[in-house]
């Protein structure tokens, strides 16, 4: 009761400092949480990818910060090779045939065996879209001819030899597809799904029966439907995001930390005379420190409550979606550590204080 009375008197004398400290702490909690999120996602990614991923790996996103390795695909006993998704640009379906648009490196770099001619990415095919058809479709479409499907002309430049080449679209797989090089943007863009980069080209080992293979492909596509991607891209994205914002974040953070410490020390200096005069009539040094500590903890509690209650509004204000509860808790703990430093500094000064200076 007496302690509360003293606390009340203490807060009344330091009202301005208390308000400033609450504001500073709100600011610090927000900054900390943004920095935690930015560096956290990068550090988690680095830690994870460095451990489990190699150059050929793709990542499957299981949750916000949890990825799974997909280089199992190449280790799948039925799969001969997997070409990662980065070359893929778009596809659509036409009468159970998948029409895929690929970037030029597919035709220049991939070691696929074929009949007819490989598409020449430098050549002008006019109004027709040059394509390679899969082995199954080579019985229907003849090499060297042009076919019209729903108004689009396709020039069949060659057919893939491998029976077991599959290209995956979302969670569907097909062995009936056109591999197009759509240099002049002839493919109907309304139908073309160019947004996804989450597909892969797979060649299966020879002599694998269709049923066994389709089972393997089911597995693979199950993983694929979980959104897999090139982890190096993700890492460099994360890094860009982090390095851009983090420097500003940490600068602001440093400022708020220094401001917080300075504010506390200044407010202590202001109080020193009053503390001495209290010591004269029997106030305990420990009690002064305790009052100070309680005041800081109350400030932290108020600030934390403010941030937690207005989390969404603050997020909108700073245009950040990264203020998770986890990060906020860490931020609040960090602020408590800051408070602890202040309490130790002030506590030491109080313990050294003399009533009569010498």
């Amino acid at each position: 009761m007496k302690f509360l009375w003293q606390l009340n008197e203490d807060v009344k004398s330091n009202l301005l400092a208390v308000i400033l400290i609450v504001l500073e702490l709100v600011f610090a909690i927000v900054c900390f949480s943004v920095c935690f999120e930015l560096s956290g996602s990068f550090v988690t990614s680095v830690g994870f990818f460095a451990k489990d991923f190699n150059d050929n790996s793709l990542a499957v996103k299981l949750s916000e910060i949890n990825y799974s390795v997909i280089n199992d695909i190449t280790e799948n006993e039925n799969v001969k090779n997997i070409y990662t998704a980065s070359f893929y640009t778009g596809s659509y379906e036409n009468q159970n045939t998948y029409i895929g648009s690929f970037s030029e490196n597919v035709f220049n770099d991939l070691d696929l065996s074929y009949k007819g001619e490989m598409i020449d990415t430098t050549k002008d095919y006019g109004n027709a879209v040059p394509c390679l058809v899969s082995n199954i479709l080579s019985k229907v479409f003849e090499i060297g001819r042009t076919y019209n499907l729903d108004g689009t002309d396709f020039y069949i430049s060659g057919s893939l030899n491998d029976d077991n080449i599959y290209y995956m679209l979302g969670d569907l797989t097909s062995d009936a597809f056109f591999m197009c090089y759509d240099k002049n943007n002839i493919l109907p863009s309304s139908e073309l799904n160019r947004s996804s980069t989450n597909n892969a080209l797979i060649t299966a080992k020879d002599g694998i029966s269709d049923t066994i293979l389709s089972k393997s492909l089911d597995e693979i596509s199950a993983i694929e439907s979980k959104n897999y991607f090139d982890w190096r891209e993700k890492l460099s994205d994360d890094f860009d995001k982090m390095s851009g914002n983090l420097i500003i974040g940490f600068l602001v953070l440093l400022l708020s930390t220094v401001g917080f410490l300075a504010n506390n020390i200044l407010s202590f200096n202001q109080n020193q005379r009053s503390y001495t005069n209290q010591l004269i009539v029997g106030q305990k040094k420990g009690c002064i420190t305790l009052l100070f500590a309680t005041r800081l903890v109350i400030c932290t509690a108020i600030s934390s409550a403010v941030v937690l209650i207005f989390k969404d509004k603050i997020s909108a204000l700073i245009e950040s979606e990264v203020m998770t509860y986890d990060n906020l808790i860490y931020s609040i703990l960090t602020c408590l550590v800051l408070c602890l430093i202040c309490i130790i500094v002030i506590g030491l000064r109080i313990s050294k204080a003399e009533i009569v200076e010498r």
Partner: protein, 225 residues
């Protein structure tokens, strides 16, 4: 009982110009005495009072308080001494400026274990009334005059019913009439058994005490009853 033996106090001991404020003071003050300490400015009166009241420590010598060397008191006990045993009326008042008179007078009660929370205010108000500034109870200390501060300091000194009151020039800022009132107040407390030690320049005030101790250059030059 307060017993000082060969007390020496040197300020700024480590600097090139140390100040020897007390230079071998021997003094015994019995319970219930009313004692005046006189001396010119800078002779060491406040220093002596600070040492007696445990606000400062002697550089050398022995201070025996109630039969126990002051160095043997634990810091917890020193807090209690300042809080309960001594009542201070300091030369610069020693009040918390940004607080009301009432709060200042409540502090010694708030820091002690003896008085319950709900009794604090009543006791403080009574002490303020006794010091003659009942109408200033709620005023901030920074907003009252020097004489009024002196009375506020007196109220704070007496509120916890201390055994010893240490008053450093308690009447310096007051006219004769109010000075007499204050000394009258201290005398009344002394009649009830409180030991009173008053530092004063004023021979008239000193003459109202039972005993006068004169200090010059940090030594006791005269001790008369």
């Amino acid at each position: 009982m307060i017993c000082l033996k060969n007390i020496v106090k040197i300020y700024n001991r480590k600097s090139s110009q140390p100040t020897r404020a007390l230079d071998g003071v021997d003094l015994v003050i019995n319970n219930g005495e009313m004692l005046a300490i006189m001396g010119v400015s800078g002779s060491g009166k406040s220093t002596l009072l600070n040492i007696i009241g445990c606000l400062d420590k002697a550089t050398d010598g022995e201070y025996i308080l109630d039969g126990k060397n002051i160095n043997e008191y634990k810091s917890k006990e020193i807090y209690v001494l300042r809080n309960k045993k001594f009542g201070f009326i300091l030369q610069n008042y020693g009040l918390v400026e940004d607080k009301s008179v009432l709060t200042n007078v409540m502090y010694p009660l708030a820091f002690s274990k003896d008085v319950g929370y709900f009794k604090m205010k009543g006791l403080a108000k009574k002490a303020i009334k006794n010091a003659g500034i009942g109408e200033l109870t709620r005023k901030k200390v920074s907003k009252i005059s020097g004489g009024q501060k002196q009375r506020a300091a007196i109220a704070r000194a007496i509120v916890n019913s201390p055994e010893v009151i240490l008053a450093d020039e308690p009447t310096a800022a007051l006219d004769h009439k109010t000075a007499d009132e204050i000394i009258g107040l201290l005398k009344k407390l002394n009649k009830n058994g409180t030991t009173i030690i008053v530092v004063t320049h004023d021979k008239r005030i000193a003459d109202m005490c039972d005993r006068i101790v004169c200090i010059s250059d940090g030594r006791i030059s005269e001790d008369s009853k």
